[in-house]
């Protein structure tokens, strides 16, 4: 396997800008999308190895629905095993209880979650762990 390709889906362009060098320092290819719709397109066209997904973009919880779509809908059939890490600045929606909440809503949650701002080492080690699976 060559360099892993990471897709960052976040409506905050500056955050994408700031997190890109961190990912590049670990020699990943980085692509990005600024909203859920663009994110869907990029997932289908670029087939990333892992997705960093912001929870709140156009609406309060659209990261939830996009994640659930990727994991369950036909559209993403071959890509449904792509690991997803949630990234959010809102702590209440993340942390150890987040997955539990996604399930409560009848949604399939992400593989991991991380708070914004991310610590570079923490982010890289979580990505590595999921890529090795």
């Amino acid at each position: 396997m060559g360099k892993a390709k990471i897709l960052v889906i976040d409506d905050d362009a500056d955050f994408v800008d700031a997190v890109t060098p961190i990912l590049q320092s670990a020699l990943y290819d980085v692509i990005s999308a600024a909203n859920p719709a663009e994110g869907k397109q990029k997932i289908l066209n670029e087939k990333p190895d892992l997705i960093l997904l912001d929870i709140m973009m156009d609406s309060l919880f659209d990261g939830f629905s996009l994640c659930n779509d990727i994991k369950t809908s036909k559209e993403f059939k071959e890509l449904k095993d792509t690991p997803i890490i949630f990234i959010s600045a809102v702590k209440e929606m993340t942390g150890s209880r987040f997955q539990f909440k996604a399930e409560e809503q009848g949604l399939v949650g992400p593989d991991d979650y991380i708070d914004k701002p991310v610590k570079p080492d923490d982010l890289i080690s979580r990505i590595e762990r999921l890529l090795q699976k």
């Binding site: 955050f15 700031a18 060098p21 320092s25 309060l60 809102v90 702590k91 209880r97 914004k116 570079p120």
Partner: protein, 372 residues
């Protein structure tokens, strides 16, 4: 709104009465249920959750008044209408005082029954609508808090992210003096983000929203998860952390998310203010009418003059010669609010130089859950 048939429960010892009322209500498209005495009636109230209950005041066994009381106690929003056989004004008045919505003197015509039931159900519908509006409003408020939190924290998060990149040397070499200043700037920003979080937590707590999330839970399980989660950071500081075994009753009514916050806060403090190679013991103790959780550390302790204030918002214990410590000064006041929302209390005992023990007392789970 759900469009299921309204349920009307008829509690009357006379079979003829039950049958004729059911017939009329069924013809009107309602779901009619019957019970021949108060005991069975109350069971059916729990099982069927009726919208309206017709109660005969004069029955063998438990009286209609008592049934009325119990129904009110179970769910004050259920509409109760009493049937007064002996048509005395006194009993009707007493029933109304006890919370009956209306009364129906025997004998009555089908139309009289229909009208009174229709009005009662209309009242019920209004109550339910009001309730669902209240819930919707609360959800909006909660989302509003989440939104504000997001709007405040997002930009800060991105700023810190830039600092992380620069400090990580990913944007070119950083001189030591620059690194020092950037680190300080980053830490201050992170502290500000914490503060926003804590403050929003307090706001949430004031709304009294956690009550809705109460369920029966095992304190031991909650504590075990927290201790496991925090253990690595205690080990990093060379501090031992253990949860002492406990075999008594440990069930309380509570919300595990906020309780996790309380005990994480107490244990994290116990790590932060401990001495090198110190110890932390977490234990559960059964008291006469409460269950206590102790978090005991071997730290420097809290000077007596500070003790009355440590649960106040933004209060910080400053020891001599110490620089401003990290944290927001809200942790313990949030903990106290959460504990109080659980009907409990939080106390501290401290011996300067030896350590502090924080104790949280919870009221025991009441044994009423057996009936539902």
């Amino acid at each position: 709104m759900q469009h299921k048939k309204p349920i009307v429960l008829i509690i009357d010892d006379e079979e003829a009465m039950r049958d004729s009322c059911s017939q009329i209500l069924l013809r009107d498209g309602l779901q009619a249920e019957t019970a021949e005495d108060g005991t069975i009636g109350l069971e059916k109230v729990h099982d069927l959750m009726p919208d309206l209950v017709l109660i005969d005041l004069k029955m063998p066994g438990i009286s209609g008044f008592e049934v009325l009381d119990k129904v009110k106690e179970y769910d004050p929003d259920i509409i109760s209408i009493v049937i007064t056989g002996y048509a005395t004004v006194e009993s009707a008045v007493e029933a109304m005082k006890k919370g009956a919505y209306d009364f129906l003197p025997k004998p009555f015509t089908p139309d009289q029954l229909r009208i009174i039931i229709r009005r009662g159900l209309e009242r019920r519908r209004l109550i339910q609508e009001r309730e669902s509006l209240r819930r919707e409003k609360k959800l909006m408020e909660e989302n509003f808090i989440t939104m504000v939190s997001h709007q405040l924290r997002s930009p800060l998060g991105t700023i810190v992210q830039y600092f992380e990149v620069i400090l990580g040397g990913m944007a070119g070499k950083v001189e030591p003096k620059q690194e020092e200043m950037l680190t300080k700037a980053r830490d201050r920003l992170e502290n500000l983000m914490e503060l926003i979080n804590d403050w929003l937590d307090l706001t949430r707590m004031n709304g009294g929203q956690i009550l809705d999330r109460f369920r029966s839970l095992s304190l031991q399980k909650v504590l075990k998860d927290i201790v496991e989660f925090i253990l690595p950071s205690a080990q990093k500081e060379n501090i031992s952390l253990e949860l002492l075994p406990y075999s008594g009753d440990d069930r309380i009514q509570g919300d595990d998310e906020t309780l996790t916050q309380v005990f994480s806060n107490l244990i994290t403090n116990a790590i932060k203010y401990n001495r090198p190679n110190g110890a932390i013991k977490v234990s559960i103790e059964e008291k006469e009418d409460s269950i206590a959780v102790h978090v005991e550390d071997t730290g420097r302790g809290i000077p007596e003059e500070h003790l009355p204030y440590i649960f106040d918002q933004f209060y910080r214990v400053k020891q001599n010669g110490e620089k401003k410590s990290k944290g927001t000064g809200l942790g313990l006041s949030i903990a106290k609010k959460i504990v109080e929302a659980h009907g409990g209390t939080i106390k501290v005992m401290s011996q300067p130089g030896k350590g502090s023990t924080f104790t949280v007392f919870f009221p025991r789970a009441r044994q009423e859950s057996e009936t539902g």
